[in-house]
Structures are given as structure tokens and as C-alpha cells.
């Protein structure tokens, strides 16, 4: 497969996944901001969200002080914010268009009609209702794109790079969601938070589609440590870090080439870290530090994948 084609497929699926996870982040914030709490706490949690996705500075520059409505508009709809949901969907479609011949017609039409629907959607000032609908729609379109990928794409390298893009982005985004939410929920560390805020942990679990999974797996009340375990270490949770890295590891193995040895080793090492990890030890050694290290490793994998497979300089 052409390196450039692989590159477009990889970025196409990263942008779709990023749009979906942004919608998830906004959803959890919208949900929790409906709970009774102090206004400055609400603002803090939005500021935290902006910071963790690296957009706080861009936001302040453009929009000034943090206010929930403004942040939502900035992250969801603003076409000239390259990190907004709208921009991510546009970039996904642009990457798809560049390799539309490699995509199945069904997948291209899905991404194209997502984009056409989006540009045809009324925006203006959104009510909370309208916003929740919009975020649900973004998730649905992402589910649809992924489903069409799974249901129609030949299982070749193109598929592998599409999946690597999805899971690399998801690993990164899930880690960020966890980091920002746990900082708000358990500011003094997971162990120290005695009064567990049932509603906020529930909102977090919902945001990564893991509430029902939690119930099924633990059949017990919600505790912070189990939430962390579920979303970091369990391989059977579809959005957990372990699951994401397992997928990356597997798909990297099937595209291995002459220069990718070290990249594969690092993916395997990260996989092992999650596979044999223990949540009590992670919490003891620092939950935030673990996530920060994880994000560094994921970023490193992204750079190495680009260099080993996607750059048009190999000759």
C-alpha cells in the first residue's frame, strides 16, 4: 500500500475518533453541570477539559474567560478552531476524499453524507436539548463509520492502518478524559476521596460507554479504584487503555516492515504494562503520573508509526 494512502487512512480514522471523543467529553461535562454545584466548580471543570486537550490557551486567546456556553461553542461548532468537532469531521472527510478510491463506496458515502448533513444542520444558539442531540448525532455518525469500516473493508494493510488510527486516538483521548475527571473527582488522590460522588462517576462511566459494563463486571457499588481499573486495565472493556493498546499491538504486527522492529517492541512493552498492571500499585505510585507517562508513550508510538510506515521518504 502507498505510504501516502496509509497516512490518509490513519488520519481519517483518528479525526473521526477524535470528534467522537470530543463529543463524549462535552457530554460528561454537560451532564455534570446539570448537577447541583458551585458555579466556579463548573468553570474549573471546563477549564480542566480545555487544558487536557491542549486547547486552553487557544480558547483564552480567542474567547477570553471560561464560560460553559462559550466553551461548548468553541469545541463543538467553531469552524476556525482546528480542534473543534466540526473541524475534525471536515478533516476526516478531506483525508477520506484524498484516498476515496481506496475506501469502499459505502465508507466514503458515509463520511461524505456526515459532512453534508453537518453543513446543512442549523446552528445558531443551541439549547441544551439541541446540544445533547448534536453530541449524540456525532457519536452515532462515528459508530456508523466504524461499523461500515468493519462491515465492508478488505482486511488488508489499509484496514490495519485505519484501525491503528482509531485505537491510537482512542487510547490518547480516554487517558485524557480519565485524567481530567479524576482530578476533579478525587483532587487529593483516589484513596483519599472518601465520599464517593455516585452521580459524577456515573457520568464518567457513561461518557466512555462503560456504565453497564461496570455493573456487569463488578455487580457492586461504584468505587473510584474499580472505575480506574475498568478503564485502564481490563482488556474486555472496548474503550479501556488496555483494549486500545492490544489492538494497536496486533495491527502493528500485521503491517511490520524492515524498519519497524523498535516500534513493535515499544507497542508490545506498553501492552505488557497494561496487561500485567495492578490498579492498587498504579494508584500507590501515582495515578496522574501513570497517565502522563502513558500519554507520552502513545505520542511516541504515533511519531514512530509515521516515520516507519507513513512518510513518503522511504526509498
Amino acid at each position: 500500500m502507498l505510504s501516502r494512502t496509509a497516512d490518509h487512512l490513519y488520519w481519517m480514522s483518528r479525526y473521526i475518533e477524535r470528534a467522537e471523543n470530543l463529543a463524549r467529553m462535552l457530554q460528561v461535562n454537560v451532564r455534570t453541570s446539570l448537577l447541583p454545584r458551585a458555579a466556579d466548580e463548573v468553570d474549573r471543570s471546563w477549564a480542566g477539559t480545555l487544558a487536557i486537550i491542549g486547547q486552553l490557551e487557544a480558547y483564552r486567546e480567542r474567547c477570553g474567560p471560561v464560560s460553559p456556553d462559550r466553551v461548548v461553542k468553541f469545541l463543538a461548532f467553531e469552524a476556525d478552531n482546528p480542534g473543534s468537532i466540526v473541524s475534525n469531521l471536515r478533516l476526516a472527510r478531506e483525508n477520506a476524499r484524498a484516498v476515496r478510491g481506496t475506501l469502499t463506496s459505502e465508507l466514503w458515502e458515509t463520511l461524505n453524507s456526515t459532512w453534508l448533513d453537518l453543513t446543512g444542520r442549523p446552528r445558531g444558539d443551541l439549547t441544551t436539548d439541541g446540544l445533547i442531540d448534536f453530541l449524540e448525532w456525532v457519536k452515532l455518525r462515528s459508530h456508523l463509520a466504524r461499523g461500515v469500516t468493519l462491515g465492508t473493508m478488505l482486511r488488508d494493510e489499509g484496514f490495519d492502518f485505519t484501525r491503528i488510527g482509531t485505537f491510537l486516538e482512542r487510547a490518547d483521548n480516554t487517558a485524557r478524559i480519565l485524567d481530567v475527571q479524576f482530578r476533579v473527582l478525587a483532587p487529593d488522590g483516589i484513596r483519599a476521596s472518601t465520599a464517593v460522588d455516585y452521580y459524577r462517576y456515573t457520568a464518567l462511566l457513561f461518557s466512555v460507554s462503560a456504565f453497564e459494563i461496570y455493573r456487569k463486571v463488578y455487580r457492586d457499588r461504584i468505587t473510584p479504584e474499580r472505575v480506574a481499573e475498568l478503564l485502564l486495565l481490563r482488556a474486555d472493556t472496548p474503550r479501556s487503555l488496555h483494549r486500545c493498546v492490544a489492538e494497536i499491538d496486533q495491527h502493528l504486527q500485521s503491517v511490520a516492515n524492515a524498519q519497524s522492529g523498535e516500534t513493535l517492541r515499544r507497542a508490545g512493552e506498553l501492552h505488557a504494562l497494561l496487561r500485567y498492571g495492578r490498579i492498587d500499585l498504579i494508584v500507590e505510585e501515582g495515578f496522574h503520573e501513570f497517565l502522563a507517562d502513558f500519554l507520552d508513550r502513545v505520542a511516541d508510538l504515533g511519531r514512530r508509526i509515521a516515520r516507519d510506515f507513513l512518510a513518503s521518504t522511504v526509498s
Binding site: S3, T5, R97, R100, T102, W108, N112, L116, N257, S312
Partner: protein
Amino acid sequence: MPAAFDEMRDGDGRVRSHYRGFERWLDGMPAARIAEKRTEADLLFRRVGITFAVYGEEAGAERLIPFDIVPRIITAAEWRLLFQGLRQRVTALNAFIADIYHDQEILKAGRVPPEQVLCNVQYRPEMQGIEVPGDIYAHIAGIDVIRAGEGEFMVLEDNLRVPSGVSYMLEDRKVMMRLFPELFASYAVEPVEHYPDILLDNLRSVAPPGVSQPTVALLTAGAANSAYFEHAFLAQQMGIELVEGQDLFVRDGYVYMRTTQGPRRVHVIYRRIDDDFLDPLAFRPDSMLGVPGLLAAYRAGNVTIANAIGTGVADDKSIYPYVPDMIRFYLGEEPLIANVPTWILRREEDRAYALAHLEELVVKEVHGAGGYGMLIGPAATREEIERFRGLIEAHPDRYIAQPTLALSTCPTFVDAGLAPRHIDLRPFVLSGRDVRIVPGGLTRVALREGSLIVNSSQGGGTKDTWVLET
């Protein structure tokens, strides 16, 4: 302007026999249902993203080419004549290009003026003496055919460089079958869907000698090109890589693609970029679209480029008047499809006639394309005619003139309902081991009332083209 031939009705207003089934079907369709279907067609094209970029508009603008749901129907007998005439013409054109880049017999015989060929900017001295597989230069030709007043077919133009439009032919059929399956049940229409298949077969058949499993790639200028949809579509349908210049490189005289598994040899390049941009080392040095060293690899016979470099020497409007003579010279046959009568304005006699009759004639720039740089006498203002008179007098060799032909008309849906609109036809002629043409081609229609310009860049639309099996 002379009366136009109507594809659907004869001189007495009776529906021609091959359109009767369609007429009955149309009569049975309520207007609201037709409107619904037309909207649905629009949505289908938009969703599939069958668009083209219009140069000069906002960057990245994508537009739909209007699609008309009334098919253009060609009888089996008409197609037999078209097929034979097109095969004859393209065979002669390939023989001409081969001759020009080898012994130039036709110039020595005085049948074509040497300066018309050798001083033409489309003549590529780099090609002189190069052997190409099967002596085929124009592997894919788009020949523009019109029907004049009495219904006789004539060739208006040959496109031998990078003809486009075949994806519309295929998509028009797909949409038509989806919208009106019942019509196809009542008509035996020749299929066109196998075009990508025979195109791939054709491209593989001209691989460099000794290569048994050739790798074919389609070279595009990229997503910003006006025909990008078609490039992506054809590459996908053929299952070949869609490459840009940056994806290819030349090493030791061979061409490779950069892939995720390292370099991979390419044997045949179906290029959709012009000669000038193919190789910055040989042609335009500022080209970012090409592949440095490609010409050298080509000259060494290690890669086939389709169409070959330098085919423009045969499809230039200044060469066009000589094509009937090429057919006689190379094949010893009389042309089965005539040329449109053409005055060559470089000739004094022709020029005098044309200048005296500008208000009746169509004047075309020899190197123009896409309906630009053209004068249509009967529709032109006094000033436009005088402007062209000045242009012709200053550079007579840059222009040709033709009578204003009433292109045939076909009923077409417009805002006011069904109305006749002028059409042409571009069949795609594939040359390799033999000459193959899928029945039909792309029918373009001028949507503005009275307009003769069918180019999509100037408001033209398309129709599905049916060749009947019997």
C-alpha cells in the same frame, strides 16, 4: 441557424420508433413523480460526491454536473457505423503518431505540411525514434461526435491526451438504473459497466516486454484537480493504486512507488496529468506534480506511459483537418465518419472566405479547449465579431473556422418542462492488442436554450447514453 436534427421526433413530429417505449413510459408518469425522481438523482450524485472543481472559483469549490433523466438513445445500426468509423479513425491516428515519431512518411509524401507538425508545441522531439509497446500511443481516446442537420454523424474533435468524462458515463448509468429499473426491463440496453475491466486489460496489454504480471498505477495531480473524482473512481474500479508524483521515484532507470512495505516497481502508468508536468527534469522544471527521471525510464523502455508522451501532435485543431487524409494514407480506406468542414485560416483563400462570413461561422482557437476562446458567429455581438477579425488578421495560424452546425437535440428537463436541447457524444476508444469501445459514451447536453456549448465548465449537463442491442 439551420434546423437541428431531433433525436426523438422525425420531421413530421412523429416519435421515432426507438423512442416510443420511452414516450409511453413518460406519458404514464405523473409530473410530481418525475420531479421527485429528479430530486433523488441530484441527491444520489451529491452523496456519492460526483463533483468537479471549477477553476477560477473559490478554492476547493465542488460542483455537481447537472444530470438529465431523459436518455439519449442510439440504435444498433447507428452504433455499428459509429464503432467502425471510430475504430478506423483512432487506428489511423495511432499510425500517424507512430509515423511522426519515426520515419515521417506522411510528411515526405506531402499529405500534411511538415511545419504544422514539427513546429507544433505539442510535438515532442524527445519521442523521436522511441519504440513503444504495440506501436500504440493513444491508448485511451475520447472522440467528440455530433449529429448535424440530416442526422449524419461527424467528428468534431479528437482528444488523445488525457480525455475525461468516462466516470460520468458509468455513474449516469448506475443512477438511471437505480431510479428507473422498469425502463431497463422494457429496453435491451447494451451494458457499459465493464469499462474499467477492459481499460485495465488494455493497460496491462501494453506493459514493457517481458513483464508477465505488470503493476499499473494511475497518476493524478491530486484532490485539487478538476477531474479528481474520476481519477479516484477509475483507480478504485480497476483495483490499482492512485498515485501522485510524490509517491513515485526513479532509481537506476526503473520506476517505483513508495509503499508501507518499501519500494515497489511500477510497469504501466495511466497518467492523468499533461506532458508538461510529467518530469521536471525533462519538461517544466517548476512542476511539483511529476516524477524526476520519468522520461529517462520511459525512453529506456522500463515503463509504459499511457497515453504516450507527445500524442497532442495528433489532436491539435490545426491537425484535425488532415485526419481524413491520414485514414486514406495509412489504411487505404475512405473515412466512415466525416470531419466537420473546416477552413484553415492560415490559407489565404480560406481566410478570405471566413473573414467575409464571420457572422455565420464558428471560429476556434487551435490550442483552445473546454469551449474557451471561441466565436459563435450567429450568437455573437458586432464587437465580438470585430474582435475576432482583429485576432485572426494578427495570427491567422492560431485559428480555424467551421460552419455553425445545428447539433442534434434531445428532449431535456428544464425549469419550464421538457424542451429540446443540443447534445454531443464522446465515446471512449481503447487501443491495445485490439480496439475496443463500450457501446455509447458520454452524452453532454447544453442546458441553456439555443446554446451549442456542452462543456461542463460552461453549464453543460450529461445524459445516460443507450445503445440498443437490436
